[in-house]
Subunit: 315 residues, 2 copies
Amino acid sequence: MKIKMNEFDYIEKYFRPLTNKCALNLKNDAAIFKQKSSFDLIISTDTLSEGIHFFGHEDPADIAKKSLRVNLSDMAAMGAKPIFYNLSLSVPKVKAREFIPKFAKGLRDDQNIFDIKLIGGDLTSSLKYINITITIFGETYNGKSISRDGAKIGDCLYVSGVLGLSKIGLDNFNSKLKEFEEAKRKYLLPQPRVNLGVSLENIANSMIDISDGLIQDATHLAKNSKLTVELNLCKIPLPNIKQLDHELILNSALYGGDDYELLFSCNTLNESLVEELSIKMNLKLTKIGVFKEYKKEYLEFKNNNSKPKNSYLHF
Amino acid sequence: MKIKMNEFDYIEKYFRPLTNKCALNLKNDAAIFKQKSSFDLIISTDTLSEGIHFFGHEDPADIAKKSLRVNLSDMAAMGAKPIFYNLSLSVPKVKAREFIPKFAKGLRDDQNIFDIKLIGGDLTSSLKYINITITIFGETYNGKSISRDGAKIGDCLYVSGVLGLSKIGLDNFNSKLKEFEEAKRKYLLPQPRVNLGVSLENIANSMIDISDGLIQDATHLAKNSKLTVELNLCKIPLPNIKQLDHELILNSALYGGDDYELLFSCNTLNESLVEELSIKMNLKLTKIGVFKEYKKEYLEFKNNNSKPKNSYLHF
């Protein structure tokens, strides 16, 4: 027997169980958050559009997790502890019955992993494609968030993990080779560096998460700090995939998107703290560059004069 | 000469000028809001999908205003003063160049009217249709927001303005008759009752904005308050449009959406305060029902045994 559900039924059955008390059981026009004057509230939004940010045929649970994780990554990049999120989901009528329960299950699983709850949002139909917008909220002590413009001359540039995996996963999404499994998994389910972000509060002075490729995001840090960053291409941490040559892997790291690793600057005096953190968190943190006085370009390559090409742009 | 703009160019040219200082010039992964412990932050989200909530051929400035206004209406319904908003806009590549500048102009105009600023968001492409999600933020003193569940037995039910105009405007959108001008305008550009919402802080004990038709939204108030509301159909404030018979206008009021008038309950002792407010604001506030102990239905009609049919549902 098919039971026809309307949006209130979907909200009651699948989304209300995901909420915290701010959500007032999703029975009101808004959520209510009691402010605390010793904290800043950090607010960020990321949208995933079907056909642009995901294919549409993935498991809806994975789409849900990716939507949440790219937002969690924004909190990490600010050095903020994520506390709750708001979801707007637009789904074509014909897909709702199949999509929504699995999508909500994916949210529930990741809510448990990342200790975060839903506070509200909107559920509507759309004509043809799924659109997911999450606004995420995090907290730092007053003035303790990490911006993109704090790098100083002489600071080191560090990056977490390895770069390029997600782009390789996307490019080989239909491959059955087990050597691409990790890359495909990383493309589907990025690993936001939430704990690292919070731990860098007193260490990093500028930070960004790599969503548009190392070149573009390193340029953002340099440009906002009004400096030039000199990248050492030999130091970029790359995955080891024997089917692919080094040049292709390096290009995936430089220009591919969706890695969601953290890229941050810190004073050279903090290098030992970064090393300790790397050991404590069992996470590779690699020094890949240095900030210099701005001359002609925001980004230079050490021992290499090739000019960077463009990363992915929406328009 | 055509200049190809990417999303950063669009953000810099059209959206950064709309921001306040929380937005940090849209140069970071997130906005930063300094919390104040004597206030609650009220958070709400509404999405407009092309083909569902708007046709797509309207002036983009009007689409922008409607997107902002339906969210402002949610703040009004909570009795909250709107302070800023977050925008996620997904636009097909081929429409961006034409759509974005006009859309941003519409936001700017309404920001001035409603004294509200942009704090951040996301701009992405989409495959075919435009999707707009706004998360709006408002403030009340601690514990002073108005929920949907506070009505008591014997309380009056009031509504602002007249009902049904927006549905009539939608149904006659292609008519050239000047009698439909006001209705079409109301459909395109709802008038959120922001000042009324804030002024009802110590008068109303439950409130909702009418986005899904009077029947559905009055039922929400009754259901959340665990009472029955008795509507007096003779009292519903209706527009006067000579081309349409009374039955059709009444049905538009009862079942049509998008009116964005405020529907609220208050103690009978507050009736004189409501009357004073109506005069002071030069806005019709009409008593249309009364709350009674719950029996079999959440909603009853005075002197009328007909059962309400369903309002618009997304799924």
